[in-house]
Subunit: 198 residues, 3 copies
């Protein structure tokens, strides 16, 4: 179940990366690379930081297949992106939640302290999008306006708290993902931006 | 022989990086750093991803020497770059071919699956130039227009295929490099861009 | 003593990163991330390159605390930045000196050759600021105008030379830091830029 959602999340991030690349007039290779990096960059940095190499992207062909699929979806779906934007937003929020959860779990398995696990969860969920924006030559969105990392942090703190309380694992994962997805979707719906600092 | 060409390839990439830095009004340190990263960034990322640390750049002084030489060449040769652009293009294409071949070989030595070796070959050949463009605050060229990564992918697939067929090693390396160089030079000659996606 | 100065240096870099992020209209999370990366990016890259993972940032909560403090200082101090610019410059120069020294020492402990230790010292001191500028979508300052890396290189060479001569450790560290800080402050005072290459 977790794996299914994570795969879906990766696919959505790959599609969003490919669309973002296309907007910058990149060719298919650029769309593929930016999609792949958007979908896997967070997990990749996490792997390098905790010494978990070679990372999954080099041992499991699934991310490459998802990135290729992402390019296809981005090209085929171009005319209807506006209609299904809502679907994409929901899946993107789901991906965000799942990537945070997965990142924290893997960091916990390495015996890292709680704040470090939280940071790796946020990195897992947001670093791909950050790289996407750097490659598009823009100031990364995650650093600017939307309640994005904030959702990951709140959800991640809740996850760590529930873990301390000894709640069952499945409940912890489900509640955490729900918290992150809900915050993220509410932020989109009501166009809540964190007020600019200062 | 391979080492000679690889050294030449690194040097050309260092020169191209130093020239690119100079166009952005960087000082000599900027030219040195951008040249060094252009020449070694691909191999560096490959080393980090497969856990091969410290990378060669920290144990062999040659890349530093090549980057210094690259700065000198970029400065001295400034008046005549247009005349010898053709020479630079040919050497750059050679570097591309050799870096792809080297990257794939090293990845194979780590027992990684074929698609992973192919990806590391492309990374080895193109990531330095990608970083060069990020540091110059531009959308990376490799993601945009030229038949660049495509040449690496076609050559890399041929290399993996010849390897499966049991062809002698020297032949495989020579044919692969020839394929990549040929595609790249034809693309430059006829100004073939991959048509923009979509 | 060394630890105190290094902590101060990290804090100053975090503050400078947070201020730089605020200028680009980032939210508090952006200020935090850019501050953290400015303060720790150099040490992080060094750790990844020499295989020293997980890096300190994942095992010691101090950098996170310093980055949070940096955001607070950047916000609270906003009205008076101009008045205390001189203090910030001095502390920044100190951070530069200490980071170079620390980077070289750690690299020496790994048995790397001298030029590699020098390079890691420069990377430790400058890479955080380079990432800060990439995230702000600008050509990195360190690659452009100021006598910044040059100060690290001169100081680092002096440090390696004194080490060979067998000078006592405390003297080596103090003299090296003094050299770097002095060069850097003189460069600021007299607005000496390295003349643009070529």
């Amino acid at each position: 179940m977790l794996h299914v959602w994570e795969t879906l999340g990766t696919l959505v991030f790959c599609v969003s990366g490919a669309i973002a690349a296309r907007e910058k007039e990149m060719d298919w290779f650029g769309m593929f690379v930016v999609g792949l990096i958007t979908g896997t960059g967070g997990g990749l940095l996490r792997s390098v930081l905790i010494g978990d190499v070679p990372p999954r992207i080099l041992t499991d062909p699934l991310p490459f297949a998802l990135a290729l699929a992402g390019v296809g979806i981005a090209l085929l779906g171009a005319p209807s992106w506006k209609k299904i934007r809502r679907v994409v937003s929901i899946m993107d929020a789901l991906g965000l939640g799942l990537f945070t959860v997965t990142g924290i779990r893997i960091a916990e398995g390495k015996g890292l302290p709680w704040w470090s696990c939280l940071a790796l969860g946020v990195v897992s969920a947001t670093f791909g999008g950050l790289l996407r924006d750097v490659l598009r030559n823009e100031v990364p969105l995650v650093l600017r306006k939307e309640i994005y990392a904030t959702a990951c942090i709140i959800g991640g703190l809740a996850m760590l708290g529930m873990g301390r309380l000894g709640w069952p694992d499945g409940v912890v994962l489900a509640v955490t993902t729900t918290i992150i997805v809900t915050i993220r979707l509410l932020a989109i719906r009501y166009a809540i931006h964190q007020s600019q600092a200062g």
